[in-house]
Amino acid sequence: MTFLPTFSIKISMNIFWLMMMLSSTLVLLVTNPSEMLNEMIGAGADALELCIELCAVYVVWLGFIELVDASGLSKKLAKLLRPLIRKIFKINNEETEKIIALNISANMLGVGNAATPMGIRAMQALDDKSGRANFAMIMLLVINATSIQLLPTTVIGLRSNAGSANPADIILPTLIVTFTTTILGIILCHTIEHFRRKIKGGKRK
């Protein structure tokens, strides 16, 4: 691993959270110590509000997704996307492939909130309990992070509200960027994984 030090950096949410909290607490200690607790509780209230909203969204989407599942459509969808999913994620498990197919389809339709429950389920199915993210999990996160949506409906809505003459003229650039970054993400993950395997293989010898 000494050859490629960047790959040995273990990024965890713990580090990010700690850095964010430590730096802002230090600054607030000097600038505005009295407001800190209030702000934190306010953020908690925001989170609660968001969760109630999300609950309303999930109740609709999980209901519809169950219909998709019960009618056998999800199986058909998975079958359609299977060759692609197997190649990209390097997995071979029909149930997991089905969940990933639903997650990606929801993303493409631009309903990120419907994709979330499927993403959580897929991560659970992919978890090998080793405490480290495996290749398929990383790939799923990267694909979700590069937002593969076909129609940026929310943005178009906001733009037309703001009085745009042609709110949809951002669709083409958005599509180009989305596809480029998703493909870049897939290639990067496969390249890094390839090198990691090589290094591991070299170590064993």
Binding site: M13, S24, L28, D46, G63, T146, L188
Partner: protein
Amino acid sequence: MSAYILPVLFLLLIIYCIFKRINTYDSFVKGAKGAIKLVVDIFPFIASILIAVTLLRVSGITTFLTQILSPIFNFLGIPPELTELVLLRPFTGSGSYALLEDVLTTYGADSYISRCACVIMGCSETIFYVATVYFSQTKVKKLLYAIPVALLCSIVGTILACLLCRVM
């Protein structure tokens, strides 16, 4: 036009379910059951990240970072007016949409800056939020290279978005 997509898909789904003789009500209820449990499970994760992001904003660190990063972003072809949006996008969805609305009203919906902001929003995600929530129900503690790769793609996307908006 895009307003029709989801209703039409729902209609097709319901017709398909009738055709397949599925008890739609029973199935819908069965799926909907999972909603509250899911939200209860992810609430602490959402709250923790929102608390950290709020403190980061209140403490003025984001403003400070915006000032530092503006010249670098400008060098990469990203308008300095969008630094804060680009910076906050990986952390908060609602926060970055509020910033987008600001940009749209301040600079006009059809200005170069607004179009850049729209494309950036359309092709990026709240990476840290998605990472926290997606991994929340697993045993995973180490994400390895997931976040660096996601962030890198996001930056490349942002630069490409600003470039494309110049010519398209």
